[in-house]
């Protein structure tokens, strides 16, 4: 066994949720409650132009007419939307020019999270946009990216600096009418990342956003918008953590991706929001709408996600394959332990000719958790020669957990080929015995097997993330083996 795996296993025994600290930062927190005034306040605070305020208000008014969906395979008590504060930011929201000006507490927060905010960590080669509660704190490597014409900034800055671009694409993939949480997000979103890769540019480094919920009684509603022009390429990573609290906090984000002809967007998520304690107390409700559209021919969008956190994960990163020959991919590992619930999967909408999609979903349930895969593959009449392959496997660890698969296929074209496979099983006793026989303890063997099981997906992550994700898998399973 390599040292790396040794590390993972030693951490199994002594780690719990290690990102559960609270940072003592001076914060502006808006009073709880939601009304048109809340939205006007957020908009004014950010000095937003009139059109954006109007868009938010339209979204809010539409949201009021909607009812909360109930079809999902997760259970939670009703959310009181008036008991949430919709805006929290570190004080002195002045723009920062260098890292020295950053509040040392905030810097310490991100240091604890192991995020390379420091420029000297150049070797890591990752440009970071850090979002704390509602606002983007700092974006690194801006100049270096600007040389190539890449725009990587917080969305509130982008509204001022590139209003035309934001206006053109905001809500173009996920309109505010799309669903309940997307409407809520459109009304109250506070910040997020904006990425624009101009024609023919290959983004020279991985772009990354770290999301952190710090304040109590707040919800986080960020919005990410990534536009890749013709023949552009970008790889984008997001990571999420939150402090341990007894209350449930709502995280309702929207991510929109637009890939023009020949462009490629690779979007990776390592989601590690606080999952609640062993009895299911506290934790984040992660209700997110993620969708990408392959506008042009030969475009490609790839979602990779490792979901280990959140008390409830409920999201379906989707791809609309509009351009001919475009490709959509979805790779997912969703791990639930204790009382966690997950209902996640993807939607692949084939519209263009010869479009291809591939879905690989690996669910792992332990403790008393419930883990569902729900996915839709839709082949429209126009999508001649469309091709889909889906595989969703579930691994059950313990006799109190559940694993569920709900794949939907709607096929309207006879030249389409759609294949789906799913299996559910526990770790084979013969495999465990094989390991035991060679002197590998039960717990080590389980970690080894789980990592092997998820390898197909982990391999799709950028390298630094893959290591982190493997550790996360092992930590999240701690105490479930036996």
């Amino acid at each position: 066994m390599s040292n790396n795996e040794q590390d993972i296993l030693s951490q199994i025994t002594d780690e719990e949720y290690k990102y559960g600290f609270v940072s003592n930062i001076d914060q502006d927190i808006l009073e709880k409650g939601l009304s048109e005034d809340t939205i006007r306040f957020i908009s004014a605070k950010k000095g937003e132009p009139e059109w954006l305020l109007n868009w938010r208000l339209k979204a809010y008014r539409h949201w009021l007419t909607m009812t909360e969906p109930r079809w999902q395979n997760v259970q939670y008590p009703p959310i009181d939307y008036q008991a949430i504060s919709y805006y929290a930011s570190p004080k002195e929201g002045n723009k920062l020019n260098s890292l020295d000006e950053l509040d040392p507490e905030i810097k310490a927060t991100y240091d604890k999270l192991g995020i390379p905010l420091e420029e000297q960590l150049l070797l890591a080669g990752v440009a970071v946009d850090a979002v704390l509660d509602s606002v983007s704190v700092i974006t690194t490597y801006k100049e270096k990216l600007a040389e190539k014409g890449v725009i990587f900034s917080s969305i509130s800055e982008a509204v001022h600096e590139y209003p035309d671009l934001v206006k053109k694409y905001l809500g173009s993939v996920v309109p505010y009418t799309d669903n309940y949480f997307a409407a809520l997000n459109s009304a109250v979103f506070s910040d997020g990342s904006f990425v624009f890769i101009p024609k023919g540019v290959r983004c020279p480094m991985e772009l990354s956003t770290y999301f952190r919920i710090n304040a109590q009684g707040t919800g986080q509603f960020e919005r990410t918008l990534i536009v890749a022009e013709e023949s552009a390429y970008v790889s984008y990573l997001e990571g999420c953590t939150a402090p341990k609290r007894d209350e449930n906090q709502l995280h309702a984000a929207v991510v929109e991706l637009v890939a023009m002809a020949d462009a490629e967007i690779k979007y990776s998520t390592v989601q590690n929001w606080y999952p609640g304690d062993k009895d299911g107390k506290g934790g984040i409700y992660n209700f997110v709408t993620k969708r990408g559209v392959c506008m042009g021919n030969n475009a490609k969008i790839s979602w990779t996600q490792v979901e280990t956190g959140s008390s409830i994960t409920w999201k379906y990163p989707s791809v609309i394959l509009k351009g001919d020959n475009s490709i959509g991919e979805f790779y997912s590992v969703a791990l639930t332990n204790n009382m966690q619930q997950a209902d996640t999967g993807t939607k692949m909408i084939h519209i263009g000719k010869n479009t291809k999609s591939r879905i690989v979903s690996k669910g792992i349930s332990a403790g008393k958790s419930q883990n569902s895969y729900r996915g839709l593959v839709k082949v429209r009449k126009s999508a001649a020669g469309a091709r889909n392959y889906s595989q969703c496997d579930s691994l059950l660890m313990g006799d109190k957990c559940g694993a569920h698969t709900f794949p939907y296929f709607e096929i309207n074209n006879n030249s389409a080929t759609v294949e789906h496979e799913a299996t559910t099983s526990k770790i084979g006793e013969d495999i465990l015995f094989y390991c035991n026989q060679r002197g590998i303890s039960q717990e080590d063997a389980v970690a080894l097997i789980v990592n092997g099981y998820a390898k197909e997906v982990l391999d799709k992550l950028p390298m630094e993330f893959a290591v982190e994700a493997r550790k996360l898998l092992a930590i999240s399973l701690e105490g479930s083996v036996g």
Binding site: S394, C401, Y408, F409, I411, T423, T424, S425
Partner: protein, 435 residues
């Protein structure tokens, strides 16, 4: 608007119920009336009815029933399966046709109408009827319980082995005003009993059949059940089959649907004891504006059970096929082995396939898998045959026969298998011409 209509319907149903007076099923019907007024008929906002639009059915009046037919005009000959030693039961528009049937009643075996069974073998009938198809589950089941006049009953006492196959013909024919039939059926196989049933659905004119069949399979018993909708014309069918299996029992079902119609089959088997075996096979061929919707559920409530499911479909121009198969493994149903497979071929780009193979699993020591595919004929295979001088249309027929044949091969009665293969060839030829 719709609510008002349903409300008046519920009122009329209550009135209808009162007019029936005292009878053995009065309590069940009472319960059904209450359930229906709460449930109504499902629509497409209902997850289970997402792909099947019932607007046409909603316009029909269930209380109008179906006309009474002169039995002398009916000729069974063309529908018979050659070379089969059978007990034949015929139901026309949900009413028993004694002149066309041979009721069978020995000491320990009964095959006949529900009305007769209630008189001759009331005990097992009343013990099982209404126990598995619950009225609170769906409006259609409630309506059936409320309105069904008759149906078939097959009963085998302990350790009875049936030498004869029971063949049930459901003939239906409607008029514009009267086109709703309800048939309520029951099969009881007590411990160690072994029985085979073939149901044939034949529609002579547009009609809506709303049928419920409950099957109780006792310990160590074995029930083989074929449901054939192979001459179904222009009719609507909603069939609910609920199977309850005791320990070590076997239930085998083959549902074969072609030659028209808009068909919805709800097939569910639940395990009430350990070491049960359940096999579901299905084949559907359709084109034009036909719809075939198969919903299946295997409810693994007990440990050490096995289930296997294979459904295949060929969809031509303007046909719409729906497959929703679910494997449910309840907590503590350890050592479950459950497999499900669904394969579809789309012949034309105006056909539609909506598949939803589901797994819901609450126990860890299980082996469950499902697979679903949709595609066209394999071009390599076609080329291989053509390269050997086989013309395109013949090559296609060969490949389609092989594809559909996998299900027909699972038919365990040789005479029926031959009959189905012959019909299959005709049916494929028909689909090919359309293509």
């Amino acid at each position: 608007m719709e609510n008002v209509l349903e409300h008046t319907l519920a009122d009329r149903l209550t009135a209808h119920l009162a007019s029936l007076g005292e009878q053995p099923l009065a309590a069940q019907r009472q319960e059904a009336a209450a359930a229906f007024s709460a449930l109504g008929l499902p629509d497409t906002t209902h997850e289970d009815w997402k792909y099947t639009n019932l607007t046409d059915v909603g316009r029909l009046d269930p209380l109008a029933g179906a006309p009474v037919i002169d039995l002398s005009t009916i000729e069974l000959g063309p529908y018979r399966i050659a070379g089969l030693d059978a007990v034949e039961l015929v139901f026309v528009n949900g009413r028993f046709a004694p002149s066309l049937s041979q009721e069978w009643h020995t000491g320990n075996q009964f095959a006949g109408s529900l009305q007769h069974a209630l008189v001759q073998i009331p005990e097992p009938v009343l013990a099982h009827l209404g126990q598995y198809a619950r009225v609170c589950e769906e409006g259609f089941t409630a309506l059936n319980t409320l309105l069904a006049h008759d149906g078939f009953v097959v009963y085998g006492a302990k350790n009875e082995r049936w030498d004869k196959t029971v063949v049930v013909y459901h003939l239906s024919t409607g008029t514009k005003e009267q086109c709703w039939t309800n048939t309520r059926n029951l099969v009881v196989a007590e411990a160690g009993c072994d029985v085979t049933i073939i149901e044939k659905y034949i529609s002579l004119s547009p009609v809506f059949d709303n049928d419920v069949l409950e099957i109780a399979v006792g310990a160590n018993a074995s029930v083989q059940h074929y449901k054939l909708q192979t001459r179904y014309g222009d009719a609507w069918h909603n069939g609910t089959t609920r199977v309850q299996q005791e320990r070590d029992s076997q239930y085998y079902n083959a549902t074969i649907s072609w030659s028209g119609g808009r068909v919805r089959n709800n097939l569910q088997a639940a395990h009430a004891g350990q070491h049960c075996e359940t096999n579901f096979y299905g084949l559907y061929l359709l084109d034009h504006d036909n719809l075939i919707d198969n919903h299946t559920l295997v409810d693994h409530a007990m440990p050490n059970c096995y289930s296997n499911e294979l459904y295949k479909g060929i969809v031509g121009a303007d046909g719409k096929a729906v497959f929703n198969g679910k494997i449910l493994v309840r907590p503590d149903a350890q050592k479950t082995n459950a497999y499900q497979s669904n394969a579809n071929i789309l012949l034309a780009d105006t056909g539609t396939i909506n598949a939803k193979p589901e797994l819901e699993i609450f126990a860890d020591d299980v082996k469950c898998s499902h697979g679903a595919t949709t595609g066209q004929l394999n071009q390599d295979e076609l080329f291989y045959l053509k390269a050997r001088g086989i013309p395109e249309d013949k090559a296609r027929t060969i490949l389609l026969t092989a594809f559909a044949g996998q299900v027909v091969e699972q038919v365990r009665i040789p005479a029926l298998r031959d009959d189905l293969l012959e019909q299959l060839m005709k049916e494929l030829h028909h689909l090919q011409i359309e293509f």
